[in-house]
Symmetry: C2
Subunit: 309 residues, 2 copies
């Protein structure tokens, strides 16, 4: 069966959503253990000003550390051109910039309207294009609040399609759809993936970034798989959430997601037994922090991997 690419975003989306700062050594241990379990890509942090997010102050060091791990793709989030410059200087192989489909959310979060964000995308694309081919990062736009916004409510699908096209025209290589607020449902996921793929081209939308805020995370992932999504962001232990969404739990849980994919026969390259052991590293570094997921408690089914007659 086909291969699904897992991008672990816990060290970025998870850690930026909790107040405590995870020590650098614990972050390194986490990243190294997940890579050793076969996770092919990790978003190790965010290049935002440390004054805003002290949890992410060591992102450059983490990029350098993670680049030393054979076979791992090292991703980082950037909020703007300045962040992109820092990410490229640090050696990130993939840079991802969020672009909020809700203009109100965009103004509140990064004080930019849609036109200003598109100008920023164009500037980053020029910077990326100016890099030598062998160190040129993959530049992706995360279409945030694509399924609804905690400030605006319903987000127009026509607007998402239009802004996805504008992002590609401004020079992004790919767009991804982000359910920042945990508003998505499977029918909506199918519909929006189909519409955006039709507008930007099949190969320009591969990624879903989902939260499990209302428990629908894996059902939404399944809906995405049905529409040809091949990359899923997730967070070990479901760490993290959106600070603007009260009661929001974090990203979909890497452990449960990988279990689902493996059970369905998808290849992920990930060793589930090894992955389940990584949780202890996070739990030890963040005592008392809620971790989500069911597979870690339940364990793998008896006879898992054997084929039924």
């Amino acid at each position: 069966m086909s291969r699904i690419h897992i991008s672990e975003v816990g060290p970025r989306d998870g850690l930026q959503s909790i107040a405590r700062v995870m020590p650098l050594d614990a972050k390194k241990a986490w990243i190294a253990a997940e890579a050793a379990a076969g996770v092919p890509e990790i978003e190790v942090g965010s290049f935002v000003p440390p004054s805003l997010l002290p949890q992410m102050a060591d992102t450059a060091e983490l990029v350098a550390f993670a680049r030393g791990i054979e076979g791992l793709a090292v991703a980082a989030l950037v909020p703007n051109l300045k962040g992109a410059e820092r990410a490229i200087a640090a050696g990130a192989q993939k840079i991802s910039m969020p672009f909020s489909m809700s203009e109100t959310h965009s103004l509140k979060n990064v004080r930019k309207d849609h036109a200003a964000v598109i100008a920023e995308i164009r500037a980053i694309a020029a910077l990326v294009a100016a890099q030598p081919e062998e160190t040129r990062p993959h530049f992706e736009i995360g279409l945030a609040t694509a399924f609804g916004c905690t400030i605006e409510g319903v987000v127009s699908e026509e607007a998402v399609v239009r802004l996805a096209v504008a992002s590609i025209e401004a020079g992004a290589v790919e767009v991804g759809l982000s359910d920042t607020t945990g508003y998505a449902n499977p029918a909506q996921v199918k519909r929006l993936v189909r519409k955006v793929k039709a507008a930007v081209g099949d190969s320009r939308l591969n990624t879903l970034h989902l939260h499990n805020t209302r428990g629908l995370g894996l059902a939404n992932a399944l809906a995405g798989l049905d529409e040809g999504i091949t990359t899923l962001d997730s967070s070990l232990g479901g760490l993290g959430g959106c600070p603007f969404a009260p009661g929001a739990s974090g990203n979909i849980v890497t452990e449960d997601l990988v279990f689902m994919l493996a059970a369905m026969g998808y290849e992920t390259g990930i060793d589930l037994d090894k992955l389940l052991k990584v949780r202890a590293i996070v739990a030890e570094a963040l005592p008392g922090e809620p971790l989500y997921g069911f597979t870690p408690d339940a364990g793998l089914p008896l006879g898992f991997g054997k084929v039924a007659a």
Copy 2:
């Protein structure tokens, strides 16, 4: 869009899985509140010997009480002919008997091999057929451990198909597929629903009974919907679980399931705001008991129910 029938099984599957006995008045309040929220069917208890499950000792009283609620379909679980006699005497409109697809599990649980269970189905079907038409209950077989067993591991799909056919031939009106152990994955759900429907006829398999043991419950429900499943069992707050599956959480969560269905545009006849308030009744009657689900904490999305452009 199409209508999905929700069967609340918390008062049976949830309460039989916890040691404490919920007082009769609290059970009545729970059942009345869920019916008032529009839940069309409730499995109010199980006709097992009270010496085995004291939590279910008041099932006959609950059937009588629930029968007084206009528009509510009243279901009860029966382990055998004797239970069916009691259920019919009490006035249950639907009786459901579990039939474990794993013969080891069946022997351990009810001390019957498959042939003995089929003989029991035949006896119950005769009893049901002998009832006057206006009080004749709907007789369904729940194909338990259909997706795997904690004792046998993998369960043969060919065996599930064969035993589903045998159940119908023995006089059951319908079969349902039960993921008793929380082993199911969406690909397996699709495959097995398709195979069983093909063997017994489309109208003879409508129901999935799912647990959220590994977090895949709603994804499995979605897979079932894709294959024409129209009835889903669920439990308020995800109460309950399988005592033979260590670490197993309970059934899929009614609140999250109904949110998913409503968000997708399915009709359930259930008022979500009212449903979310029922949880307080269960929480108050069972202080400290873990309740699952995300929608109750997160609340409904801003603008929920409005259509996106």
